[in-house]
Subunit: 132 residues, 2 copies
DNA sequence: ATGCACCTTGTAGCAACTACAAGGTCAAGC
DNA sequence: GCTTGACCTTGTAGTTGCTACAAGGTGCAT
């Protein structure tokens, strides 16, 4: 299959696929006589894996690790588990941060009853170290 | 005060402060005879405002808007409220996304009882469109 | 044969910093 | 008076993960 088809099948832009190849995240594709990239089902599987991992918030470096680990079938699963656990912890930290942020923003909105900016609680609170 | 002192006072790197000045986010500083930047309390307040807004997840463009609005004391508060509301909605969306992500990662960890990568559910699930 | 969608490479741009490099300034200590 | 070291200056390039061109080649239908 050509790059456009693979792009459509995985919801990835062709430019992104070429970028992954350049970065060594995807194996190089075969070429047709006219120098078009020619992909197999293995490439489809690989790209699906990469996109899914990226959607789950893994960095490119982590995706590389996941790929390297997944290529050694006899390795213990622990290393993979560790990466997933790390990512889970990171995601939980981000959720906590954002929830604190949400509370602050909500507090700002509720506190502002003024109708002129000169009296605006929001503007005032931005100038202080913390609102809460 | 010099840039290092302002940096320490606001928890901002000196390079970032210069960057803000270049970008027009902060007013230009006075200069000493030896061409060092010389900051006043007004600069301290402005930088505190900017850093606080950035911590709350506002983009540089939004910070510019907030600054512009806060400089017109007689303007109605509504425009500020709108920006804060927008940011709140965005943060809530991110929280929802991350919570879905957290659930998927948690599910992956729980499902993996194998000890070899060849049987690893996690690796398997990454190759599919969605785990859940 | 002509149009149009697709492909190629290479380069530059995005956000919001961060990290140098190469050099100037200032205060303290000997 | 001179050195050391911490600070400052400008300018440029790197970071992450793409995305957007530009300029040209290919494939297929009409």
């Amino acid at each position: 299959m050509r790059i456009g088809e693979l792009a459509k099948a995985t919801g990835t832009k062709a430019e992104t696929i070429r970028y992954y190849e350049r970065e060594g995240i995807l194996p190089t594709a075969d070429r047709t006589d006219s120098n078009y990239r020619d992909y197999s089902d293995n490439h489809l599987a690989a790209l699906t894996f990469v996109r899914r991992a990226r959607q789950l918030g893994f960095s490119m470096a982590q995706v590389r690790e996941l790929l390297a680990l997944s290529n050694h079938e006899d390795n213990p699963c622990q290393d993979i588990d560790r990466l997933v656990q790390l990512q889970l912890t990171e995601v939980e930290r981000k959720i906590a941060d954002l929830m604190a942020l949400r509370d602050e923003l909500g507090q700002m909105l509720r506190s502002c009853q003024a109708d002129k900016i000169g009296e605006c609680q929001i503007i005032g609170s931005l100038g202080r170290q913390s609102v809460m």
